[in-house]
Amino acid sequence: MSEPATNIGAKVAQFPRAAALAEKEPPFIRVEGVTKRFGSFTAVSSVNLEIRKGEIFSLLGGSGCGKTTLLRMLAGFEDPTEGRIFIDGQDMTDLPPYERPVNMMFQSYALFPHMTVEKNVAYGLKHMDMTASQRADRVREMLALVQLSDFSHRKPHQISGGQRQRVALARALAKQPKLLLLDEPLAALDKKLREATQFELMDIQDKTGTTFIVVTHDQEEAMTLSSRLAVMDKGRIMQTGTATEVYEYPNSKLVAGFIGSINFFEATIRDVRDDVATVDAPELGATVEARAIPGLSPGQPITLAIRPEKLTISRSKPEGPNAISGKVRDLAYFGKDSLYRIELPSGRVLSINSVNSRRVGENERVADWEDAVWLSFDPSSAILLKD
């Protein structure tokens, strides 16, 4: 993508290896047409995924959309009703969990309460062909990796929630699985710890090179952590891509609305020329230009979507094709940026996020309550959505 880098784009740049691998290697994990039904209820519906070696891949979606069920099929706890799962070229679909080169970090951590931290981490190693001293070395190495060397003789109930989370991670990594599955790994931690742990998790992934699949319902977490992500809804994968792709080029209203905030307007296509579509948007009170998507024809109803930070606010009418007039209804000052709620002549209210790049006094703001203002946006920033 040659789009101007956004704050999200900067985060993606943290994954040079995954990006480099992207083109060369065949997919490491392949999920082919996997469906899971519980009785007549379809929890996961015809899911196709291709995940590359060394990726952190996120499954993002609201509660009950089938993320855990998909993860459990990868781990071998549920049999797909239809479809097949391949890891490193091998068909895993019919293998039990104890024969898969896959380990899982459970949402509840699922530490063995009657074993010490050390024994928990060592548990999976007893099934591996290793000498006792190799095992001890591996356990020590894992505990060092998650910074728990001093807690090796404690029982799970004698350590904090954050430490328990790291024991669960060390235990799942000890066998050096080809694939690590993490079910809401940070959900049980408080906000501050969660942010610190996100980076720790990325660091550990980088050190071990293990392929991670992370389930989360938190879009910021998914965007921070992952090289690529899939947005799920009602058992289906709605869109797969990098954080930038999914944020800047959503393929549906659902994905656009789920990731970040956005303004939607009902509109009609007037004309399409090359990669620019002219769109009548009565709610905006204007005819505007937007980047075209394939398969548009004049007269077609469409949804126009604009993210709040893609709009520019000014007092005088700006140059360019996309200028809209309105009135400031609400204004919230957050320091680094401000959120405006602008009422349009049609009565619709629209959100704008404006970075406060200059230091100004109380009475020098761009706009104040009840002020008449102009809004503008670049045609390439406007998103057209067919559904």
Binding site: N103, F112, K175, D190
Partner: protein
């Protein structure tokens, strides 16, 4: 702290008095020097000494202990398996019926269980020729059937509280189902299994009704012996015998309760610590 309601305390005292005064007076009178059960003749341990030299009594005590140990052990094995099946296999056909059938004997009048067991043994003897006579085997079998239910209930409730994910985690780390059972499930529920055994043991040890139905000539357990002796009048040696029974049963019940309670306390503490750690 609020004030303890006086009414409740009073009722509790009456309740305890009603329940324990007869037992305590029985225990006191077992040390009675007089032959007359109701007249105090000074402190003496002679009834205990005479019990020790009474071969009939010793035989009954040993028989009772043998039956109790054997039936409690078998009941614990079967009851644990039933408890695990009920707690872990969520979707097998007829599960509701199965759990209903397993727990129904809990509320079944003992007389019914006794008659039913007797009928079964008579029919079995008639059609398959085993057990040919009633005695040790039949009593043990009957005890297994009705004490197993208690083990099942205790194990089941413990397993329902335990996080099933720990068993999945063990399997995920490479353990086959039997290894998961050995490494994770059984250690986690071991306090429940132990207290189930103790409960089954004490239930068997003091049972009169079902034993009465299923026993045969020459197989006299301790409670049956006491029962038949009492018919000839309450004597101090019966008090001594009963006191011994009460002490054994009391230790069993107390230990079972203590084990369960301790496991419960520990779990609560874990939860509390986990909660604090997340603050």
């Amino acid at each position: 702290m609020n004030r303890r309601p006086v009414f409740l305390i009073t009722m509790l005292c009456f309740g305890f008095a009603f329940f324990y005064i007869p037992i305590i007076s029985m225990m006191v009178y077992s040390f009675n020097g007089s032959r007359l059960a109701t007249v105090w003749g000074g402190f003496s341990t002679k009834w205990y000494i005479s019990l020790l030299s009474n071969r009939q009594v010793l035989k009954a005590v040993i028989l009772s202990l043998e039956i109790a140990v054997l039936s409690a052990t078998v009941a614990t094995i079967l009851g644990t398996m039933a408890g695990i099946a009920m707690a872990r296999f969520k979707r097998f056909r007829g599960r509701t019926l199965f759990s209903g059938l397993v727990t129904a004997p809990l509320v079944m009048p003992e007389v019914i269980t006794g008659i039913a067991s007797l009928m079964l043994f008579i029919l079995m003897a008639e059609y398959i020729g085993w057990p040919a006579t009633r005695g040790f085997t039949t009593v043990t079998l009957a005890h297994i059937t009705f004490s197993m239910v208690f083990v099942t209930t205790i194990v089941h409730s413990r397993l329902v509280q335990a996080d099933e994910a720990i068993e999945e985690a063990a399997m995920d780390l490479g353990s086959r189902p039997w290894q998961v059972m050995k490494d994770i499930t059984l250690p986690v529920i071991s306090p429940a299994i132990l207290s189930g055994w103790l409960l089954a043991f004490t239930i068997s040890l003091d049972d009169v009704v079902i034993t009465n139905f299923t026993t045969g000539p020459g197989t006299t357990t301790l409670p049956i012996l006491i029962w038949s002796k009492v018919k000839l009048g309450v004597t101090p040696d019966i008090n001594a015998l009963a006191t011994i029974t009460v002490v054994i049963v009391g230790i069993g019940v107390f230990t079972a309760g203590w084990l369960l309670n301790r496991a419960e306390k520990r779990r609560e503490l874990d939860i509390q610590l986990a909660y604090q750690a997340n603050q």
